[in-house]
Symmetry: D2
Subunit: 270 residues, 4 copies
Amino acid sequence: MGVTGVRKPVQVKRPDKVVTLNIVVDAFVDLPSNMKGSHLSRNVEVIGEIVDESVREPVSSIEDLTLQICRSLLERHEYASFSEARTVADYFLERKTPLGKRSLEGYKIFASAQIRKGEELNAERRIGVEVVGMTACPCAMETIKDDLSAQVENLPIITHNQRNRTIVEMDVPNGFDIEAEDLIEVVESAMSSPTFEILKRKDEAEVVRRAHENPKFVEDVVRDILSAILDKYSDFPDDASVRVRSESEESIHKHNAFAERDTTFGELRL
Amino acid sequence: MGVTGVRKPVQVKRPDKVVTLNIVVDAFVDLPSNMKGSHLSRNVEVIGEIVDESVREPVSSIEDLTLQICRSLLERHEYASFSEARTVADYFLERKTPLGKRSLEGYKIFASAQIRKGEELNAERRIGVEVVGMTACPCAMETIKDDLSAQVENLPIITHNQRNRTIVEMDVPNGFDIEAEDLIEVVESAMSSPTFEILKRKDEAEVVRRAHENPKFVEDVVRDILSAILDKYSDFPDDASVRVRSESEESIHKHNAFAERDTTFGELRL
Amino acid sequence: MGVTGVRKPVQVKRPDKVVTLNIVVDAFVDLPSNMKGSHLSRNVEVIGEIVDESVREPVSSIEDLTLQICRSLLERHEYASFSEARTVADYFLERKTPLGKRSLEGYKIFASAQIRKGEELNAERRIGVEVVGMTACPCAMETIKDDLSAQVENLPIITHNQRNRTIVEMDVPNGFDIEAEDLIEVVESAMSSPTFEILKRKDEAEVVRRAHENPKFVEDVVRDILSAILDKYSDFPDDASVRVRSESEESIHKHNAFAERDTTFGELRL
Amino acid sequence: MGVTGVRKPVQVKRPDKVVTLNIVVDAFVDLPSNMKGSHLSRNVEVIGEIVDESVREPVSSIEDLTLQICRSLLERHEYASFSEARTVADYFLERKTPLGKRSLEGYKIFASAQIRKGEELNAERRIGVEVVGMTACPCAMETIKDDLSAQVENLPIITHNQRNRTIVEMDVPNGFDIEAEDLIEVVESAMSSPTFEILKRKDEAEVVRRAHENPKFVEDVVRDILSAILDKYSDFPDDASVRVRSESEESIHKHNAFAERDTTFGELRL
């Protein structure tokens, strides 16, 4: 029981500077069955204080911020045995186009944490990213290729391609850390191509070409992300969970293609 | 892996007539790891055929429709071991205002089903409703009452009140059935007051008065719904699960108040 | 001053049957400056009565329904000198894929009307449609073609393609009528290709091929729609206005490409 | 014809500090009828360069930023005779609750500009704000008061109250400036009460009390804003336009109450 949709600007440390992120926070505690109402204003106070404090001392990440909120919630609601906080923010990274131009790209990053009273060191932390990129369909490409004469050997074959939206969310086991930037890179590498806000003509052609050399179903995107994550975080425990959802806004349909896998490192290792 | 956001009009039988519901369907199957891509067009075909068939023979409910889609998905994707379908639709019911006027009110109804190959009779079915109503805050009311002189005994005390949006989703165990109308009634009874599209002045005053005689926190709404559900479906098995989420769009804040409980009949019986 | 977001199911006559449309209605009147508040419940009553009446006698179109609401609003609010109503509904049409399969496709249709007291016969009526289709980019295609050797003469060249969302809204002059179906057809013909909910492999390839034979910028879509409308409604008066907005959800960018023209038949005839 | 939904973080000067605003920009130019396609990448380049420049030299406001984008668009698209840019951003201001506590509140601010070639000094600039606050209904209050005995003289009477969302957009005539903060204050003063993210019990009661002492229909909110604007910007020319839209998310209905006035300073002065 708590509050949803609290909007705040917060100061976050990056390696080389301090950035302002506009976060939206949900914050909850449980309520003993013998208590009629809780004091929701405390949830918003906690969020406000931590955000205020970030002006003096920027937080190191929205994961840390989320964890701090969880801890303060438990202290402030002395009757609660459980607290949870969830945060989402727009995030920007500088990217290089195929021909090497700089382009500032937008993403969403997520963090959540849950704590039980008495087990404050065992917080359950999760981190996530939403990345918009591009998929080109392998199926239409193959059908069209079969129809064309042999002469097209080595030529790129037309197919439908579209905006793809992929979300990864995973546990951050105790003693480990995950950088949102790394997850964003994993996702972009698994798509037919990343997308860019600025593309001059040669760059535009190159992005199209690469996407067509790398056609992907949504289920390929999911599979390739999971495989890269298993590689990258090879020392994560078996019970760490990870969920990947990829949705292609099909250019040839009015509906979307969708694939999801909600699994654990243990299952991935089988 | 499948399709999301497929929109169709479907004919549904009601006790006294046939109504058209505009449904949005998501439909998925799993994919063996040795298969590269599935045939998503089959998912949309299945949905289309069942909707077409409903013109000749209206379906009995969106729960049944969802289950039929699941079964056809497994037949059509011979390699799949699992299928899932989810449906949402706008739904309208005639209501009586406090003074007895008829008013047509809008709701959302949900249905989902999952089947594993070889266990077709053990489908996991869920049904849900979203209801918009009204809550009046007990806390502000009490603070204000304390400030007023004794003379106000029995007079309604001002407080903030607001639109509340509550969602119930629950398992439909095998051998049982749940009517969406019943769930809608359970939810409306648990709010400070239902809301109505048409209210002449006397009716408007009466709705306001009733809401103030019945102040509720979001956590009260959740608790009262669970208690009514336990009563109404008293023969449901212990492992049947139910989730209630209630969100009040607080008139005095820019954020929302939120309560949720995700539990089972077994836990509720403790 | 009025109400927004009133949801109702309404019975509408089609050439061969009666369909149920779920409409969302906004309804307004003006208020003389010496009046403090109007009686908003009358707006919702008017909508409710016309919708109820449609059960006995289906309305002929949402344009007519919108006009009826406007007239009743003026009667019921005797102090008002002006009324306005706006309606939007999901709408479905059966389409044929390139290879001749039937596919039920979803659209949005809009209608609005405004009346001034004493000029009830001079209602300003507008109608509109929103169509989702597909555009393939001519620019990337040309750049890529320039890079490829001469041998590719007559072969389809890859490019980025994507979901396109186009809205047309136009005046319906007194004495004329416009069928939403006709506007939908005009829009679909102006895109690189219409899109379809069900496409088996051969059909999918054919849609992709046609889109690549017919590359379009958003500004081409707008221009071609205006030209077709000028042809189709050639006897419309010069002061009839029309607005076309086309947005391509670019597969290679995170932002959209957008073109709009808000013009009159007179300007188009210059 | 241009781009919509370009997201960027931009550095903006405030009296006492530099803040980062996450802006969403739409940017357009016209296209001579003899040109087939324009170079949309230039629009995004222009936005990117101005945002980059803001890191070195923060922009003075999003109005200025929008105007700069317009000017660069005309320079970069040498064939265009017209350019337009529109910007929206989340914005935060520190407020004091009735009992004097600080609370950081969120708003939206808008800016747009249009320029014609050769008339660069005559830019049409507009600025706007969206404010969420609270309205309490005068009508239900009056009906209920009539029903209660005389003893309640001077006691606050219950009524329905709810979240209200009000948008003001107005011209910024050449030679004048408008501070978004001022518009936000005008709007908050015209509601039954502003709302606050943090309210301890006494403050909560006070906000409720003030809202009930100050009941407002949406049309009152619109009227009071226009009157305050006419006062505050008393030297604005007659042709400067202003539009106010106020929407109350009625706690007793599922639909909203809405009032709008789109007028000019000249009309307001009549």
